[in-house]
């Protein structure tokens, strides 16, 4: 079985992090984004993954080789010389995907969820159509591709990309499985699968939708007549199938909260516990946390991170090698690799520090977006970008 991951280009929405690393290699909950997807695909029996990239970096190439070894999975590269959109890359990788005649998975690289690849394959086999996509319910569907489908069969009647009026609250989750026949529809030119391919397939009745949640709805939400959604951090509910597009920092943090919650339900031993730990906290074994800290809820601490005494961290990701000095207070932030945050600093409101940023003591950063290798010597009281 094969799969294609649409990695794309520079990942500009996740800057400043993607100025230092290609997006697939940014660690989400202490594991490279790409690795979350590769491991899930491997589990569903995929033996060959094609990465469709329009910008190839050495780092990505090296990471691919390493994962090939580790996972025992074959990784090929499909390099677009010009950006081919969301469908074009399938045409470019045509030979690799059609080989073997089996249906193949396609996924957006920004998506994080409890990947339902095995269930998706079964669903696809059952209805026999040309394509299946995973849908999830959200509170604000207008940002995504919206799907209207028949409740019993899942056959899609309509597919509207970013509708301006409310159509439905089920959206395209960016995970697909296609039969090789779809490749007839796609030419080697910039093409949007959402705007050009899917509507045609829906008209012909060849496109089916599988809901992400499956059968296990959390009872609290079901009682309210609502299904679990991808809009924000839940408290006290357990979404059976969380989903998030983590292509930008705000959503990256929301997705982190959901992932940690699912981890609490399925592998609570992986979460950190101890004095000063509140809620779901993931800490790499090589990280050091000082005395009198209060960490959590919803915090991820990467490898080699040093958190000094008296630090309070809530709803943050701290990437590898960073240092948070004493008495600081962080909420809803992403601290990039090797950063140094001074003493008595306050950072909040989706402040993102790129790689190797130094924040001087006693500063206040509110919604600051700081590019790599910067030294911050003045407070940022209102959200802005620091170049």
């Amino acid at each position: 079985r094969r799969a294609l991951i649409l990695v794309g280009g520079f990942g500009t929405r996740l800057r400043p992090l993607t100025l230092s690393r290609p997006k697939p290699l940014v660690e989400f909950c202490n594991k490279a984004l790409l690795l979350h997807q590769l491991e899930a695909l491997r589990q569903a029996g995929v033996s060959h993954v094609v990465l469709a990239v329009s910008y190839m970096s050495e780092a990505l190439g090296a990471a691919m080789r390493e994962q090939e070894q580790r996972l025992g999975i074959r990784i090929s590269l499909s390099h677009e010389k010009e950006p081919l959109g969301t469908a074009g890359p399938l045409a470019l990788a045509r030979d690799l995907l059609a080989e073997g005649g089996e249906p193949f998975f396609v996924l957006n690289s920004d998506v994080i969820c409890e990947f339902p690849f095995a269930a998706l394959a079964r669903f696809h086999r059952q209805h026999g159509g040309e394509g299946s996509l995973v849908v999830t319910r959200v509170e604000e569907p207008a940002k995504y591709g919206v799907v209207v489908s028949e409740a019993d069969t899942g056959r899609i009647c309509r597919f509207v990309e970013k509708p301006r009026v409310f159509v439905s609250n089920k959206i395209n989750a960016g995970l697909y499985i296609f039969s090789p026949g779809i490749l007839q529809r796609i030419q080697l030119r910039p093409t949007s699968i959402e705007k050009e391919i899917f509507p045609a397939m829906a008209q012909e009745g060849q496109l089916y939708a599988m809901e992400l949640q499956g059968k296990t709805l959390c009872t609290v939400w079901a009682a309210r007549g609502r299904s679990c959604h991808a809009g924000g951090c839940h408290r006290g509910s357990v979404p059976a199938g969380f989903w998030m597009d983590i292509g930008q920092p705000k959503d990256f943090l929301t997705g982190m909260c959901m992932y940690l919650q699912a981890l609490r339900a399925q592998h609570p031993e992986k979460l950190h516990s101890g004095p000063g730990v509140v809620g779901n906290v993931l800490v790499d074994p090589s990280a050091k946390i000082g005395a009198n800290c209060v960490i959590g809820p919803n915090v991820t601490i990467g490898a080699g991170v040093v958190v000094e005494d008296g630090v309070r961290i809530k709803r943050c990701t701290v990437l590898k090698g960073a240092r948070i000095r004493s008495h600081s207070w962080l909420e809803s932030c992403i601290v990039g690799w090797s950063c140094s945050v001074g003493q008595w600093v306050r950072m909040e409101n989706v402040t993102v520090l790129g790689e190797d940023v130094i924040v001087n003591d006693e500063l206040y950063l509110n919604g600051a977006n700081v590019l790599p290798h910067k030294s911050i010597a003045e407070s940022v009281p209102e959200p802005r970008i620091i170049m």
Binding site: G310, R312, S328, W329, E348, Y364, S379, P381
Partner: protein
């Protein structure tokens, strides 16, 4: 030579820019660098040889804090100190005119007049010596300092003869540039000044009669030294300016209290090194000039991870763990040696101007919040973060 000093301390209706700090304690008693604002004045006056008595003059009703302060100051400085209460706000000249007999009693040959709301090195002895060199026994001296051209417009401007230092022209808060030399609010007078003030009083009386007192609040006895007396004396050969390079600042707004504190703390290393906190093993880390009241306790576990910057924290206030309380300093431009602190307005373009954060007395700040550029009135218990607001 027998001398006296008069310190003008104003009254409740004056100095309202100092609120909310002046809600608990009258402005002249507000602590600056650890001691009440006027104590710095009293100390400087008491040091001058020949000083017989110090008179505080204002229109506050007598109250406990003031009385207690007078008693302890007399004991400390071993010099008679009295409070003379004006029956109404009589202006910077009207009060001393009203109490002229008290001032001159005991044969004072000269007396200083100092505004309470300034912070200064108080070069009083130098002013006396200057007068001997440049004027005569009947000359009056204004203490002046240099401001930059733009800010000078906010003060009394003095044009002086470069050789004799005689004041040729005086304008209070002009709208166009007159001079960079500004009036520090510290004067040296002789009994002859009362003649000049008396003239103004007479003139006022006549004008009131003419106008038939259309404005009921206008009183003949309200006399302003600056506009009414100095302007008239300029060019008459009687008024001189002694220019100082020592530190000087007005204390009008709450933010200027922090700046004035800093100026005095700098001076402590020479004048009162015992007042500066020293680093002790096991104690808090002291950086720069710090004053810690003997009854204050700084406990590293009690002041849990808070960050307090450019803020005045009122008596009995508490600040929760990991809270950040921050203001914006309104210090003068450090690159301009003659820049003075802005007496900024509270609002500009409808928005609160970023300034020192002030917590009134007994304010409670909860844990983990941020209070930025805000003023919190006394006895308020906050429950969330605030930025750029006045919280009643």
């Amino acid at each position: 030579m027998p001398l006296k000093a008069v310190i003008l301390i104003g009254g409740p209706q004056k100095g309202t820019r100092f609120r909310p700090l002046s809600f608990e304690v009258p402005k002249p008693l507000f602590p600056v660098a650890g001691v009440p604002m006027v104590q710095h004045h009293i100390e400087a006056c008491a040091k001058v040889p020949g000083m017989k008595e110090i008179l505080l003059m204002g229109f506050y009703q007598p109250h406990e804090a003031l009385s207690r302060f007078l008693v302890s100051a007399q004991q400390e400085f071993k010099i008679p100190i009295r409070y003379l209460q004006e029956y109404a706000a009589l202006g910077t000249g009207g009060g001393i005119y009203h109490f002229r007999d008290q001032i001159l009693s005991g044969g004072a040959e000269a007396f200083f007049v100092l505004n309470a709301d300034v912070c200064s090195e108080f070069p009083l002895q130098e002013m006396l010596e200057f007068r001997q060199r440049h004027g005569d026994a009947h000359s009056f001296v204004i203490l002046g300092t240099t401001a930059n051209r733009t800010q000078a417009l906010n003060y009394g401007c003095i044009v002086a003869n470069a050789d004799t230092q005689e004041v040729q022209h005086y304008v209070e808060k002009p709208s166009t540039f007159v001079s960079e030399i500004i009036n520090c609010g510290i004067y040296l007078f002789t009994p002859a000044i009362f003649q000049h003030i008396g003239d103004v009083f007479q003139r006022n009386q006549q004008e009131l009669v003419l106008e038939e007192s259309s404005n009921g609040w206008q009183r003949a006895e309200v006399i302003r030294l600056e506009q009414d007396v100095f302007t008239a004396l300029a060019g008459s050969g009687k008024l001189y300016v002694y220019k100082t390079d020592g530190f000087w600042s007005q204390i009008k707004s709450a933010g200027s209290a922090i700046y004035a504190s800093r100026l005095y703390l700098n001076q402590y290393s020479k004048s009162h090194p015992e007042r500066l906190a020293q680093n002790k093993p096991g104690g808090p880390v002291i950086r720069g000039n710090v004053y810690i009241h003997p009854t204050a306790s700084i406990d590293s576990t009690a002041v849990d991870h808070t960050c307090v910057l450019n803020t005045i924290v009122g008596w009995d206030s508490t600040i929760g763990r990991w809270a950040r309380v921050e203001g914006t300093p309104s210090d003068p431009n450090p690159n301009d040696p003659y820049a003075k602190i802005d007496s900024e307005t509270l609002f500009r373009d409808g928005r609160l101007t970023p300034s020192i954060t002030i917590l009134g007395c007994s304010v409670t700040i909860p844990a983990e919040v941020v209070i930025l550029n805000s003023i919190v009135l006394p006895h308020k218990e906050l429950s969330r973060s605030y930025k750029n607001q006045i919280i009643l």
